[in-house]
Amino acid sequence: MNDTFNCEEFDRLAGELRYVITDMICRAGSGHIGGALSLVETVVTLYWRVLNIDPRNPKMEDRDRVILSKGHGGPVLYAALAYKGFFPKEMLGSLNADGTNLPSHVDRIRTPGIDMTAGSLGQGLSCACGMAMAAKMDGKKHKIFCIVGDGECDEGQVWEAAMFAGHRKLDNLIAITDYNKLQIDGFTNDVLTLEPLADKWRAFNWEVLEMDGHDWDNIYTTINKAKQIQGKPVMIVAHTIKAKDCSIIENKPESHNIKVDDEAAHRKYMGALKCTDYSLPY
């Protein structure tokens, strides 16, 4: 990859994507904002600095794959895909609109650049295992990135997939847990504790790395380190903040899915963003 990283530019891009994501959700009247905003730096790093992809050819055979197993995070991928040129930015205004190609949960059939449908939690990591197995059978060198939610890890199927990937030594599979410590009903430690999360994955024969999911250098070096690991699948536990940079809901359970009833509420969420010096592309 041609890496032209500039911290200030990336900060500005992350702010812009948060601005657009928040507006998309507000326009739609409701949406899963918290888990989209917590992933912005991770997704930007993947799409701008890591992935081998071609926006003009979303189905390029040797591209790296991304499965957003926490499918409700769709808006963060849509914003990234549009800004990378997979589809016109104008489309971003159609989130959840009647007949939209940008549904709340990601859909491989409707949206260019979405590699797998997800939304019913717990299934995406298994699908990623299938993609990783297929790539190995075909002697392909691309990587399969799978983003799971922390609350999603309550699902037993996640651990079935964990066992399978460990057993099959799927070292072309890199999973990332968006560990924002919140799920719909509250903090993960109160609802159903995941700890010791990193040790759980180690016990399932995964290599485990941890990163600050809002620190550009840390994210980039961690993902690159993960790409070099051989003989094991890799889990990156990304420590993140739910609804990052939207002050009125940041790190609050109610950020999981907001309801935006009117213009005033729309303005309230937009005004709570750390940076608002942007214009909308639609």
Binding site: S126, C127, C129, G130, M131, A134, M137, G156, E160, M163
Partner: protein
């Protein structure tokens, strides 16, 4: 297709056909969830193609989604397990990662209905055809003998899209021969008659055929439609037959709710209201028992099929006046 296929157990034909297909197409894969010996792919397929035989362990949900991921990458995975674990246990995984995502996954439910025998109520699934039929994008098949099974598998491998198929594991009486070709969405007319229409599928078709043949001696002419494809369902053949006979009996190795009997009633109630008697398992769970015990308990063995045909054929004669009323609308001769 070889001419002596009926001498083999159905699961053996399943594995042998997949082996042939795998030799022809490098994308054909077998996925199992620790029941590979039961479904016949181990050792037949596993030994020949160890790299294309993926045992997922006792993790059916994982297996279905692994298959979906593989299918997205161009593979053609055949996933098998006992019918309850291939369908109701993984209903959401199949719904979302296979049907909704429209991935090219083939799901095979083995030991359907009462053929689960000694495994009893936990393994005896009577609703897989009903629940799989209710799923958009899903095709539902239930072949009745080895030749039809082999033909269905060949069609499944060539067809791009999700398919669910029931697989009887044991020896099955020969209904067809090596010239059989599977026609998706089409019923097979196995016996001609005008007294009563009998509609069957899968495991019950050999019994239905025997019933039709034996009823000839009584002067009851059975129009027998065998439906290897429950979805899409051959509404045209059913309506044409019902128009001719005016009375319909259905028989299936399933609950009478929502499966073949359900499909028949849906079609007829909208296209040609006709009296229907559904044979199969009423709204009950299975249990450890012999076939005869279960046939007698639930009333869908050979003698029950014959009796239902007699009753429906006579009802048809007795209710000539009602029939005439329908005729007057020009809907039935």
């Amino acid at each position: 297709m070889q001419a002596n296929l009926h001498e083999f157990e159905m699961r053996n034909v399943y594995a042998r056909t997949l082996l042939e297909l795998a030799n022809e197409n490098p994308n054909i894969l077998v996925l199992e969830a620790d029941l590979s010996k039961a479904s016949g792919t181990n050792p037949t397929f596993a030994k020949e193609f160890p790299d294309r035989f993926i045992n997922c362990g006792v993790a059916e949900a994982d297996m279905i989604c692994i298959a979906a991921g593989m299918a997205v990458e161009g593979k053609i995975p055949f996933c098998a397990s006992f019918t309850p674990f291939a369908t109701r246990r993984v209903y959401d995984q199949v719904t979302i990662s296979v049907a909704y995502a429209n991935t090219n996954v083939k799901i095979v439910g083995t030991a359907p209905g009462i053929t689960a025998g000694p495994n009893g109520g936990t393994h005896m699934c009577f609703q897989d055809m009903a629940i799989m039929r209710a799923m958009p994008n899903m095709i539902v098949l239930s072949p009745c003998d080895c030749y039809e099974l082999s033909a269905c598998l060949r069609w499944m491998a060539a067809h791009e899209g999700p398919v669910y198929m029931q697989l009887i594991r044991m020896l099955q009486p020969k209904v067809f021969d090596e010239t059989y070709t599977f026609n998706p969405g089409k019923a097979v007319h196995l016996h001609g008659g005008s007294s009563v229409t009998l509609v069957s599928t899968g495991y019950m078709t050999p019994f239905a055929l025997k019933a039709a043949e034996q009823l000839e001696a009584e002067g009851i002419e059975v129009d027998l439609l065998h439906c290897p494809s429950i979805k899409p369902f051959d509404a045209d053949s059913l309506v044409a037959s019902a128009k001719k006979t005016g009375a319909v009996v259905t028989v299936e190795n399933q609950s009478i709710i929502g499966g073949l009997g359900g499909a028949v009633c849906e079609v007829l109630s909208e296209s040609l209201p006709t009296p229907v008697k559904r044979l199969g398992v009423p709204d009950r769970f299975g249990e450890v028992a012999t076939e005869n015990y279960l046939f007698n308990k639930h009333g869908f063995g050979l003698e029950h099929i014959k009796e239902a045909c007699r009753q429906m054929a006579s009802l048809n004669k007795m209710e000539g006046t009602q029939d005439a009323a329908v005729s007057s609308k020009g809907e039935r001769n």
